[in-house]
């Protein structure tokens, strides 16, 4: 693995469309569920252990070479909200564009041919990690990092939250994020023998419900 390649992929400025998404933070702020750094931390912890874990396992599994179509179907089954499925495919398509330009590979080209309108973002993330010479744990680290840093940076814009406080939330959650990565990679390693049902299916019903409501707003800053 190349630590430098990992930093390129994990960089928040990697141009893959993430800046327009809040990871559910915009809807949670409007619902009064995120009001300050403490409630942001609660929100991010919940997301880390649900969406973050599932995304990390999908990404690790893709990085290990599991069939992307099976993983994409598994991601669908773990994402009840149509709005979130649409957002995940859109982000997957945007990541794939950036990945193909950054780490050209036949595998990524094949994925683009198979999913012209986008596969779920964690699946693309895992294959991108492969193309970058990275391993399953690297892919999982990127996924859990995004699951926390997305809402944290969005909340800085939404609430005018002190950016130092928001970054400290991500830092405080880092040890937990490491443990989530371990669980995700363990599950991903079982996929070869047990199939995609070995992947975790931790769900956050409120994220799904709020995402559906958010998709219907006429005035909003973020796409999801």
């Amino acid at each position: 693995m190349s630590r430098s390649a990992l930093l390129v992929l994990a960089d928040g400025r990697f141009p893959a469309g993430g800046h327009a998404h809040s990871g559910g933070a915009e809807a949670a702020v409007a619902a009064g569920r995120i009001t300050d750094a403490a409630s942001l931390e609660d929100f991010c912890r919940g997301r880390l252990h649900t969406t973050g874990l599932v995304s990390a396992a999908l990404a690790a599994s893709a990085a290990l070479g599991a069939d992307p179509a099976e993983l994409d179907a598994a991601a669908d089954a773990r994402t009840p909200s149509p709005a979130l499925r649409t957002a995940a495919r859109r982000l997957g398509r945007q990541l794939l564009r950036a990945a193909r330009a950054t780490w050209p590979s036949d595998e990524l080209d094949g994925l683009a041919r198979r999913f012209p309108k986008g596969a779920h973002q964690p699946v693309v993330l895992g294959l991108t990690a492969r193309a970058a010479g990275l391993g399953p744990a690297d892919a999982a680290h990127c996924a859990v990092h995004e699951s926390v840093s997305g809402p944290a940076t969005a909340t800085v814009r939404l609430l005018g939250l002190d950016p130092f406080d928001a970054t400290a939330v991500s830092a405080r959650l880092a040890p937990e994020a490491d443990r989530v990565v371990e669980r995700a990679v363990d599950a991903a390693r079982r996929v070869a023998g047990e199939g995609v049902d070995a992947l975790p299916a931790a769900s956050a019903p409120l994220l799904e419900i709020l995402a559906e409501a958010h998709a219907g707003w006429s005035v909003r800053l973020f796409a999801s």
């Binding site: 800046h19 945007q94 909003r220 800053l221």
Partner: protein, 227 residues
Amino acid sequence: MHLDHAPAHHGPAAVSADVTRPDGARRALRIGLGGPVGSGKTATVAALCRALRDEVSLAVVTNDIYTREDAEFLRREAVLPPERITAVETGACPHTAIRDDISANLEAVEDLEDGVGPLDLILVESGGDNLTATFSKGLVDAQIFVIDVAGGDDIPRKGGPGVTTADLLVVNKTDLAPYVGADLGRMAADARTQRAHLPVVFQSLRDGAGVRDVAGWVRERLTAWTA
């Protein structure tokens, strides 16, 4: 799998500024319109659509900051069939979506070419921003920066990337000059100083001044693109 040992890559290129589409056809010319909030970008796009829609196949991408109002305005004005207008959401940062991370806009452009193409021209309108907002060359082939006389007649003198480097500078709402005390002569002289030989058009959508010049400039670009 390590890049060092990967075989030479011969697959299709990832599309951004590539001149041809994956099927080998030449893609549409993309022109960006940027500028401060309220300077008349959407109205300029509407005027361009009216001037050009009978000559060329065109579509519009709008980048609204927190609503779909610009796209809805264009649809309501019926300047183009609704399927030729797409809105991109920008996550509170309009300049990011047109410069630093252009993926959502590229996706919109591609979807328009797939859905209503073949297209000759796509106008990409930025969300209202500040004087430093410019388009990435990965997204557009040329850009128009729209300012207006009511925003202050010192804007050309202040310069900034938009005013200085845009391929065309449009100074809009010239009909308001007498009411806001804007000195058009001074604006023209400052713009010449900042932009050397790059063109400037003074436009008033109310009395029609300059509208033909902006459309004419776009036509020249189209001719050069298809040559």
